[in-house]
Structure formats: structure tokens, C-alpha cells
Assembly symmetry: C2
Homo-oligomer: 170 residues x 2
């Protein structure tokens, strides 16, 4: 992890000698990497009148078609007013369809339209290309570690949401 000083001894689950400096580097790595992570979709959306908020909504609607507004709210971690502004625009532009629930008519189930899926593809193609390139450079073991650390960094609620999406267990 870091050269130039006496190699720290890691023993089992007792991971020691994590200097503030090492942690700080991890923090900065997160900061700079997240910028890269969002750069490509941001560029694509810059032309349109959409932003990162729209991208997030589109991503998760695509990921869990038929999800309810409340569900999306919990995943995105924003207020319903904030999400509503975004959804209103996407629905008005015909990228998202909102269907009243069959069993519970209070609920609205959200789906991407053909156009919505098209935009989603453009956005996630760009993001996946970068992720794929990074994965290739770093190698498979690094990828596994990457995922482990990220998962450990999440809040409990978010980890639950993440795992649920990952495993497709509603």
C-alpha cells in the first residue's frame, strides 16, 4: 500500500499501523476518483437540460423497473420535493412513465420509456467504459478489494439497499 517506510505487519483481522497519512490518501483517492466517475455522464447531460439528479433517477428506475416513488426516495436519499421536480421533468419529456399501482392505488410505479432507455444506455455506456478500463488496469484481485472496501464504507441502510439491488432480492 505504501512504500518508503518499514513494512507494517498486518495480523489477521487485527489490521494495525494504519497511519493518518495512509487514511488521508484513501480519502483523497475517493474524492478524485468520484470526480472521474461522474465526469462522462455529466458531459453528456451538459447539453440537455438535465443534471446528475436526473441521471441518478434514470439509473435506478432502469435498475428496478416498476419501483415506487417512495422506494426511489429511500435509495437516492433526497426529499420527495427534490425528486418530484426531477421526475416531473422526465415524465413531461416522455423518458419516464408513471403507472398507478394495481394493488395499492396510492403508489406510482415508474418505468423508463423507449426514449428513457436510450438515454440510460448512452449514460451508462460511458460510465461502464470507464469502470471497465479501471478494472482492467487494476486487475481482478484489486476489483474484489475495491468492492469490499466500498461496501464496508456504506451506512447500514445504504448497504442494505445496495445488496438488495445487487442480489435482485426485493
Amino acid at each position: 500500500m505504501s512504500e518508503g517506510r518499514a513494512a507494517p505487519v498486518y495480523s489477521g483481522e487485527n489490521l494495525l499501523f494504519l497511519t493518518d497519512e495512509q487514511l488521508r490518501q484513501g480519502i483523497e483517492a475517493m474524492f478524485f476518483a468520484y470526480r472521474g466517475f461522474t465526469a462522462d455522464p455529466d458531459r453528456i447531460l451538459a447539453d440537455q437540460s438535465y443534471g446528475r439528479a436526473h441521471h441518478r433517477a434514470i439509473h435506478f428506475i432502469n435498475r428496478a423497473p416498476g419501483t415506487t416513488v417512495n422506494n426511489l426516495l429511500a435509495i437516492l436519499g433526497v426529499t420527495k420535493q427534490s425528486l418530484n421536480r426531477v421526475l416531473r421533468a422526465l415524465i413531461a419529456d416522455g423518458l419516464v412513465e408513471s403507472r398507478v399501482g394495481n394493488v395499492d392505488k396510492r403508489e406510482r410505479h415508474l418505468y423508463l420509456t423507449e426514449d428513457g432507455r436510450a438515454l440510460e444506455s448512452r449514460l451508462s455506456d460511458a460510465q461502464r467504459a470507464r469502470m471497465r478500463a479501471a478494472y482492467r488496469v487494476a486487475g481482478p484481485e484489486a476489483v474484489a478489494g475495491f468492492r469490499q472496501v466500498l461496501e464496508a464504507m456504506m451506512d447500514t441502510d445504504m448497504r442494505r439497499a445496495y445488496v438488495r439491488l445487487r442480489d435482485g432480492t426485493p
Copy 2:
């Protein structure tokens, strides 16, 4: 990385069988983890009249004392006007000191004051604690992989800035 389907064969630097699904999981991991990553400092700053932008400025001024505004601009990736608002507040509140450059009087060199360092500590203590916990859960090999993937995900400019800070080579 993923169970439930035929184990993909990874061969040397030729990392294959990266399904869209696997990449998508990486993308979502980044999204959820970044939320956790910023949660603690955000909570601390919520009381004060500061936000994430102030945190970022404080972090990097602490990291590279005497840095110029232009320098900070490049690292943070915002416009100078945007940074200026943040700096103005921090200077007015006595957390940051701005000294006119000796050799080039157009430049302002930025330093944290005693109070600035105190807030920096509070913020980064919280963030480091989470990072440390995540590192401990994931283990040292995972941490190495984590850092590798993040570095590979950065834009070239950001990777340069990151390495420069990490290695302390101005």
C-alpha cells in the same frame, strides 16, 4: 466477485468476462459508498454555516499549506468565483489566512489558522474513523485493490494531482 454463474476465468492482464451487471454493481457501490464517505463531515458541518465545499477547501489547504488560489482551483475543479465565496467566508471567520505572495504579488498563499486546524481535525477525524473501520473490515489486500481501482478511475489531471499530494512532490 459474483457467485451463481460459471466462474469467469481471469488471465493475467487480460481481464475478461466483465459483464455489464458486474460493472453496474461497481457503479452502484461507488454511489452508495460516496454517500457514507461524506456523511460524517456533512453532519458536523450542518450545524455551522458551512458545507461540503468549505470542507474540501479546508482539507486541501491543510494538506498543502501555502498553496495558491489557482492551485486550489485546479485541485477542486471549480471556478475561481465559486472557490472565492468559500474562501471569503473562511477568511472572514478566521479559519484561513491569505498572504500576498512575496515573489509574485498577484498570488495569495493560503494557510489554516489555529481555529482552522481545529475544525479540520474534527472533520477529518470523523472521516478517517470511517475509513479506518472500512479498511479493518475489508483487510489489507482489499485496501490495496481499492486504491488501485480508484487511481485507475481518475482523469489524468486528477491522477497527477493525487500522486503529487500523495508523494509530497510539488
